[in-house]
């Protein structure tokens, strides 16, 4: 240990104790360094008693001086289906990177429920707590069969020894069979995932997310490359998940957004968020957002 490291550690410890003493742990913001001082939930279960599943607060991320996210604040309620739109480079993917632990922000806070500090956890831990993520480009295990892809995503002990000893139970096979049916791949269980069409890969990836039984799903352009029929089926699937799961859908396809917003549980007014240059440009009902002058300006470049 070098003296400056020791010194820094002492400072951090003092700051932490001072915060504890003042009993005012809320309100401070900070990035990776600051999050070491926070208390992590001991149970590990997400606490959604306050009605929120995701709190992204004042997050800033810069890459070489370019601000990919600029004081982004976003709250998602339990069971909500939130659509996020925005032009290219608005920070949609970076936002998902921060939530899933791939990118550590320069400042800000991100909480899963009211108790799990996402900035303290690794990708695999965040996934284990119940956040599933679908990538923009369909990412499946190309050399494995469709069945094996889903098997790996089954919710179970993820440690090395458990995987070595693992035996598939009949209940597990049944779950996988149900999922194969749900994602319209029931005759393709033994096919190599790499041989699937683009749309089928998207479905498989969604199926893998659902196998993990996540509480929050982050879906990055889930219908890219799908046929109209596949897109429609995807919208149906997401609408059926609404309520039991919370979903964040990033999408360019306005028709698909329209289907999501106007379908399903109509009594709930669904919110659409528009991102631009790393922060929220507009938020509200789809019609209001579409009528918003600034949104039109950003999209049409006027």
């Amino acid at each position: 240990m070098t003296p400056d490291l020791l010194e820094e550690g002492t400072k951090r410890r003092e700051a932490y104790l001072a915060r504890q003493a003042s009993a005012l742990t809320v309100g401070e913001s900070g990035g990776q360094a600051a999050s070491f001082g926070r208390v992590v939930s001991s149970t590990g279960e997400v606490d959604t008693a306050h009605g929120g599943i995701l709190y992204v607060d004042d997050i800033t991320v810069s890459f070489d001086g370019f601000r990919a996210l600029n004081k982004l604040t976003l709250n998602i309620a339990v069971g909500e289906l939130r659509c996020i739109i925005g032009p290219n480079g608005a920070g949609k993917t970076t936002m998902m990177d921060v939530i899933t632990g791939k990118t550590k922000p320069d400042s800000g806070r991100a909480f899963f429920g009211s108790n799990i500090d996402l900035l303290r956890l690794r990708e695999s831990e965040i996934a284990g707590r119940g956040i599933g993520r679908k990538f923009q480009k369909p990412t499946v295990f190309e050399q494995l069969s469709v069945f094996e892809n889903l098997e790996l995503a089954l919710k179970m002990d993820r440690r090395v020894r458990a995987s070595l000893m693992h035996k598939l139970t009949s209940a597990d096979s049944d779950r996988i069979a149900e999922m194969l049916k749900l994602i319209h791949l029931k005759d393709s269980g033994s096919r190599t995932a790499g041989d699937l069409s683009h749309g089928q890969k998207q479905w498989l990836e969604i199926g893998m997310l659902l196998m993990q039984d996540p509480k929050l799903l982050l879906l990055d352009e889930p219908v890219a490359g799908m046929t109209d029929e596949e897109t429609e089926r995807t919208a149906e699937l997401f609408l059926s998940l609404e309520g039991t799961h919370s979903l964040v859908v990033v999408e360019h396809d306005m028709k698909f957004i329209g289907e999501l917003v106007n379908g399903g549980q109509r009594e709930k007014k669904k919110i659409v968020t528009v991102l631009h240059e790393g922060s929220v440009l507009a938020e509200g009902a789809l019609a209001d957002v579409q009528a918003n002058e600034r949104v039109v300006e950003v999209y049409l470049g006027r």
Binding site: F141, L144, S145, L168, S173, A177, S190
Partner: protein, 380 residues
């Protein structure tokens, strides 16, 4: 629910490890190892055409050591997608651990008639350095054969994988690691005989090494260990753990976001692979009779990757075939056209990369599928 597909895929993953044919092939290999080789070398008289020469026995033993390395390489490269260009280091470390014991077995029969190995007398050392303290004990050195490569691989792998070093960067670092070790072992002060390494072995466990029966024993032992490692690798790949490794190769980010901490998966297979190479090195040294830092040269490590690629990655049997094919060709070429061997090796590697991405085994599978299914000609 489509039950036929379900049951077939489930059977695939939980079925017995080896089919009937594979079990029979394995039994045949074991029979050749424990019966045919000893009988044809030791019992059949030397003037008979069926006599297996001592040269052939030691060549076979040597190539089987290489095959173990290629198998280890397949686990880490073929299945996990991590190309190591430093596996020769683990091989050499296992060899050195065995060599230290063999050096002490020489006893007072060395050139200088001392209890110390000759090179230490030459350097005017009065007693063995600290890392030689256990070298009189066979048990201690056999422990070091797996422990030294294992610990080095674990520590190196932990930092490399934790820092998310991947792809070509990882390969280059492993190459640098083996090169740096080679320079270290070249130095006399390191205490491993400098650039001469260890040689002139006399005995192993008190039994003279320069006899036909010892040669055959070591050759058969190497073959049996190769078989054990093969079956073990087969079991690893057939488990869910093995499928996670392949998933890491195909899409590591997906594995991470599915909740697997890939660090421990990569680290465990990497360490196991290194330990297998250490065992191969330990079997190699008494059969070849020499170990020197040349085994740590970057080229030696690259060769292991070539055997694996030529035989066929991610097939387990392929790398073994590749080790036999390339080294068989090498022993023929270096006698017939010694100056052209490296050109041939290079050309073979390029040809395999361009035309046979699945290696020899891939070619055989393709051809057999073609002949089994003549209507589907040209289908992959």
């Amino acid at each position: 629910m489509n039950t036929s597909i379900m049951s077939s895929t489930v059977n695939q993953s939980t079925a017995t490890l080896l089919g009937t044919r594979a079990r029979m092939a394995l039994a045949a290999v074991i029979a050749i190892l424990v019966l045919v080789i000893p009988i044809f070398n030791l019992v059949v008289p030397a003037d008979s055409v069926f006599h297996l020469s001592d040269y052939a026995v030691s060549l076979l033993g040597k190539i089987m050591c290489y095959a173990i390395c290629a198998l280890a390489m397949d686990l880490i490269w073929g299945y996990t997608g991590i190309l190591s260009l430093g596996h020769g280091l683990f091989f050499a470390l296992g060899g050195y651990a065995m060599g230290m014991y063999l050096m002490r077995q020489i006893g007072r029969e060395g050139v200088y008639k001392s209890d110390l190995p000759d090179f230490m007398v030459f350097l005017d050392w009065k007693e063995v350095p600290w890392h030689w303290l256990g070298s009189q004990s066979f048990v201690v050195q056999m422990f070091l054969v797996v422990a030294v490569p294992g610990v080095l691989a674990f520590v190196f792998g932990y930092f490399a994988f934790r820092s998310r070093i991947k792809g070509v960067y990882f390969s280059i670092i492993t190459q640098a690691l083996t090169y740096a070790s080679m320079l270290l072992f070249f130095r006399n002060e390191t205490g491993f005989g400098g650039n001469n390494g260890f040689t002139d072995f006399k005995r192993l466990l008190g039994i003279p090494t320069a006899t036909s029966s010892m040669r055959v024993t070591l050759c058969v032992l190497t073959g049996l260990i190769l078989v054990v490692f093969y079956v073990m690798s087969k079991a690893i790949i057939a488990s869910k753990y093995g499928r996670v490794l392949q998933a890491i190769r195909d899409a590591e980010s997906r594995v991470l976001f599915t909740g697997y901490n890939t660090l421990w998966y990569k680290l465990s297979i990497w360490t196991l692979s290194a330990m297998m190479c250490g065992v191969a090195g330990a079997l190699y040294v008494p059969q070849v009779g020499i170990i020197n830092p040349g085994e740590m040269s970057p080229a030696a490590s690259i060769e292991i990757a070539i055997w694996t690629a030529v035989g066929g990655r991610a097939t387990l049997i392929g790398p073994i075939v590749g080790a036999f094919f390339v080294n068989g060709a090498k022993s023929w070429f270096t006698v017939t056209f010694p100056e052209y061997w490296l050109y041939f090796l290079g050309a073979m590697f390029i040809a395999v990369t361009l035309f046979l991405p699945q290696g020899i085994v891939g070619l055989v599978r393709k051809l057999s599928a073609k002949y089994a299914n003549p209507t589907k000609r040209g289908a992959p």
